[in-house]
Assembly symmetry: C2
Homo-oligomer: 205 residues x 2
DNA sequence: GACACTATATTTAGTTA
DNA sequence: GTAACTAAATATAGTGT
């Protein structure tokens, strides 16, 4: 009298612990990742927001999702001013200040990761285009840009640097009362650190 | 004989359309945003991943969530190589290539947005620290960095520029067969575009 | 306008093909 | 590996406070 059920159905799992079984963890990752993307996508269409999700598996494989197209976000946010001039009414300022250094770490992190992000997005797009023809992964030479793209890219990077310099100047102003450290702007002579160029291949989580 | 129910319960809504009623949209945004954060957080703990979610409301207000702390992600991803050397076996390459330009847009977008991101995170952290004392928003002077932070920031930015230049060199290599466009690396003379500095205040979506 | 409720819609753990 | 299935768990639309 207990086994006319075909499955146990969804079982409760402890979401406050890591899934220790490797296979379960992999499956859970895959299922919940798509769930997350779907939720994100719905949030965007329902509320007219724009969003980016970046996920890094324990092995370092990057996954991501964005809607609808980040150019719009870039334009909008470049026009908003990141500064706030309020006085802090209590000691909470220190906690915030402590995070300021993370801010830059995140900039770097995200900056480098977006390459991977686009790679995945391109993959998905290509797969969709091919009407789900079950091609496992498209590992194109994403870096082989067209002439036009290369020029546009250069323009973007120059603007990026302008923004960085602005930010540094901004900091100098803020630091003005602090005589011992002039921050200085980037003068463009830092270009030597090199990276090993093995092919980066996606691997399973 | 139909009204012993207290509420209608959850109703189906069309998730492929924008919610046109302003109030409903606001509420949906709030509810689903926390749902999304929760899902993301669970994904992290269950699968040991790291993640960042960035959302921008139609009015430009940024929201975000990250787990556990992005510095770790930064370190890891800086060591992974963004290039892939495979040959494309079919026409899907164009779709990917077309996305290459978005790649940079996203870098810029995320780069500038992280300032806002940290602001929100700092806010949350401060609120938590204060044991939910219902202080509405902490709008600290996030840009007023300590000396130490400013120095560290400068180091980060220099490294960032090194990476940008590397990327440009990389592109030159890739473009080598394309004689008409040398991309060139950043030479550090772009620093003039200025921004209006009104206080940026959070506003409702 | 944040929080609690309740009924239903949606997600997903475990399983099977 | 993955795609589908089932039943239970979870998220949330509409409502009230």
């Amino acid at each position: 009298m207990d086994s006319n059920k075909q499955t146990k159905g969804r079982q409760r799992i402890d979401t406050s612990k890591r899934r220790e079984n490797e296979e379960d963890r992999l499956i859970t990752f895959s299922k919940r990742r798509s769930g997350l993307y779907k939720k994100g996508s719905e949030l965007c269409t329902l509320c007219g927001t724009q969003l980016a999700i970046l996920i890094f598996s324990p092995s370092g494989k990057p996954f991501s999702f964005a809607h609808p197209n980040i150019e719009v976000i870039a334009t909008r946010v470049l026009e908003t001013n990141p500064r706030s001039a309020d006085e802090d009414s209590n000691g909470a300022i220190d906690a915030c200040r402590r995070n300021s250094i993370n801010e830059l770490n995140e900039q770097l992190s995200l900056l480098s990761n977006e390459v991977e992000y686009e790679k995945e997005r391109g993959t998905k797009l290509a797969q969709t285009t091919k009407a789900r023809q079950n091609k496992p992964l498209c590992e194109q030479k994403m870096d082989e840009l067209s002439d036009y793209d290369a020029q546009k890219l250069k323009a973007w990077l120059l603007e990026l640097q302008a923004r960085i310099n602005n930010r540094l100047e901004e900091l100098n102003v803020t630091q003005a009362t602090h005589p011992s450290s002039a921050v200085g702007t980037i003068d463009g002579n830092a270009s030597s650190s090199s990276y090993g160029y093995g092919g980066h291949t996606f691997q399973k989580i």
